[in-house]
Each structure stands twice: as C-alpha cells, then as structure tokens.
C-alpha cells in the first residue's frame, strides 16, 4: 500500500483494498511471520471521543502482532482539557509511538493531524466524515460471504450522517457492485457522497422502501437511525420503525442474503435473526482484528 496515512476510503484503489484483505486473510490463518516483523511496535491511541469497541479492536490487533499501545486516555484527564490544540497533541504523542490512531468529533481532523506528524496515522472516525478501517473490515466480510464483484447490496438507515455508510459506498465503486440506498427522505446521502459516486460512475439507486429491492439483494447493510436526528419522538418512532428488520421482513429475501451491521445495534435488527444463516454482524465485528492487523502490518512495512 503506497500511503503514509489512512484517512479516507476515497484514497484506496482496488489494488490497495485487495492487498489489505489478502494480508488479513493470511494473518487470520497464521500471524507468526508478522509477529516477528512487528514485535515491540507501539501504537498511540488518541481517542477524543469515547469508542470502546474500535479502541479495543485496535488494541487486540497490535497485541496480536506482538506490539503494544500507549493510550492518551480520556479527554477529561488529558492536556486537551487544558485547551491544547489537536495539532500539538498529536505532535507530542508521535514521539511516544510508531503509528497513531485518531478518533475525533470534527470532520477533517484526521487529515489536519496527518499534516503534523511523520508516523503513519489511521483515521478511526472523524465526526460524520470517514471511518476507513470500518470499511475495510466491511469489505473483508462481504468478500468472505457474497463476494465483492457482481454484488447487489442494500445500504439502509441513516445515510446522511452515517460515516460508515459514506466510506463503504465510496469504496464499493472500485468493484462491480450495484448499490441500493434505502432511507427516509430526510436521511438520504449527503451531496458530497453523491458527488463522489457520480464521478466514479457508480451504479446506484435510491429507495425509501426496503420491499422494493430486498428480493434482489446479496447483502443488506443495516445502520442505526438515531433519535436525535428527528425533532420529535413520534416522528422518530414512525420513521425508524420502517427501517427495522425481523424474521417476517426477511421472508421476501433470497436464502443467500447476508445481513450486516456495524454495531452496536439497538432495535434495527430483531434478536430472532441472530441465529439464522442471514446474520453476519458478529463475524463482521470479529473481522476488525485481522483487518486492522493487516493494515498496521502494511503501514509499518512501508514506513521502514
């Protein structure tokens, strides 16, 4: 992978993606060679907003590679609270670690931070912006189940603010994928994502109703619709209810359908689906570790 940092899914070519996914599969089977390469590597964790899951997944990945973490801790207990800029914080922590992982509430924070450091920086979520490591584990999961080419995927829920959706949709333009976007009118894809999909010549359609496309889907990627996106409680319940799935919903689906979700879920997917062959969201979450191992391994390799 010829990148110094991983900031957005847009920067990834098909070759880059395949390189990461191939390496992830290799490491999943046998991490021993990578352990030798990465023994003692320190990963700096800069989480400016809480995300226990993503943080744990990175931590597991570097430890399985024979390295360790140095953690900035929570924002409340750090220099940030005393008013230190992000640019200063990452420049200090860069001296403690071989690579940095950044989660920050502002869009573009990862790009700016990367301009101030020389070690590889991985964007683990910047506001409503990007979350490329989530995308890579999503792609890994899709490749293991439905395959990335000749794919028909439905992406449903909050498409406006959901950064995992933005990154995934952009990355899928590298493959022969038909993308169906299913959401309430008020939570459709933002202008910038539409622009990228259009520029990439992507094959996309938008729907407000899942029924229209469900039977044709290989993968259904469900995301959460948050209460705070709606002015009142009633409106939220009315709308969100249409984008929840249960066993009855899936009666119209193909037997080979794979259901994915970036987790945590609330009530978008009924628990009764967990034990069916459709459910793939827990495997998806587990895939975060080998994929992040692969990314770290590749970025550290290039950085030598």
């Amino acid at each position: 992978m010829r990148h110094d940092h991983l900031l957005t899914a847009r920067q990834l070519s098909r070759e880059d993606i395949e390189e990461v996914l191939d390496r992830a599969a290799e490491l999943d089977a046998d991490p021993s060679a990578a352990r030798e390469r990465n023994a003692g590597t320190l990963l700096g964790l800069c989480f400016f907003e809480p995300s226990t899951r993503t943080k744990m997944s990175f931590e597991a990945a570097i430890k399985r590679l024979g390295g360790d973490v140095v953690d900035m801790g929570s924002v409340d207990s750090s220099s940030v609270k005393k008013g230190e800029s992000l640019a200063d914080t990452v420049r200090v922590i860069e001296g403690y670690a071989d690579a940095l992982v950044l989660r920050h509430p502002l869009e573009g924070s990862a790009k700016m931070a990367s301009e101030y450091v020389d070690v590889p920086l991985l964007n683990a979520g910047d506001g409503a912006g990007h979350h490329p490591t989530q995308t890579l584990l999503d792609l890994y999961t899709i490749r293991e189940t439905a395959g990335l080419d000749d794919l028909t995927i439905g992406i449903m829920g909050d498409l406006k603010y959901g950064r995992t959706v933005h990154s995934l949709a952009t990355a899928l333009t590298n493959f022969d994928a038909h993308q169906h976007f299913v959401s309430p009118e008020s939570l459709k894809l933002p202008r910038s994502v539409r622009y990228d999909l259009h520029e990439a010549g992507a094959n996309v359609r938008e729907h407000t109703d899942l029924e229209e496309v469900l039977p044709s889907l290989d993968v259904l990627y469900v995301t959460r619709i948050q209460r705070e996106r709606f002015p009142d409680e009633n409106e939220y319940h009315k709308v969100a209810g249409q984008y929840q799935i249960d066993a009855e919903t899936l009666e119209a689906a193909s037997d080979d359908l794979t259901v994915m979700h970036p987790l945590p879920r609330v009530d978008e997917i009924a628990p009764e689906i967990d034990d069916t062959a459709y459910a793939n969201y827990f495997e998806q979450a587990h895939n975060g570790v080998p994929v992040r191992m692969a990314l770290l391994d590749l970025l550290m390799e290039d950085d030598q």
Partner: protein, 152 residues
Amino acid sequence: MTEKELRVSKIRSGTVIDHVRAGQALNVLSMLGIDGSSGEEISVGMNVPSEALARKDVVKVEGRELSQDELDVLSVIAPDATVNIVRDYDVVEKNRVERPDRVTGVLACPNRNCITTADEPVESAFAVLRDGVRCEYCDTIVREDIAALIDG
C-alpha cells in the same frame, strides 16, 4: 479611442477587473484582501451597462499589478471577469480569470463541525469543481452563494 475603452483604461497604472457579475464588486475586493488600508486608490463601478452581461461591475486598483494567480480565485464568484493590466494609460495585458484547481485561505468552510473552523493551526482549502467548491477537509460542497463564504 472609443468611449468604452476610455472607461476601462482611465487609471494611470494598475489593474482593471472588468465583466464582474453585477453585485460582486465588493466581494471581489474582499476576496483579494484589498480594503484600501494600504493606501491604494480603488474605484468601483456597479451596474454598468454591458454588451456581454446585461449589467456588470468593474473594479480598478491604481498602482498595483495583480498577478494571474491572485486573480484566478475570483473565478468562483466572477467566472466571466477579464483583467487589464494598465501602464501609463495603456492596456499592456488583457487576460481572463481561469478556474484554479484549489483555493486556499480565502473562503471559510460553512460546516461548523469542520476542523478548519476550530481553533487549530490550519488554513482553509477548497477544491474548485466545475460547479461549486468543496472543502478539502470535511468534503462539504457549496454550489450556491459562494461569496458568502469569503473570509473577510
């Protein structure tokens, strides 16, 4: 010399920015960072009748030859603008503004959740699209009323 040419070349030496979309003259000055504070003589014509545009604005800056790079940023608010460099009452150079690939430091991102609007050492940067501008940090695309983003 026709009356039209006379109007454009009335300054002794400097830069005349002509065929500015009506209503954009003051935005042109603010985008160029020219506010008269360094003593330049500036004249502005608004709603001047024009053949190409029904009405146009004209901006003249005496004593300063603006470079093509400085002027190209104007293309996002005044895409039809023409530039005349004047020396001793003669137009010595006539150019159009051309759309640059990017514009830095001139426009402020309208997204309040964008890192460029936070208290950080970062200059705004926009890619210039065929139709609008796009923040290089948060990806926000602005197509209408770009002049409202001018960081003045």
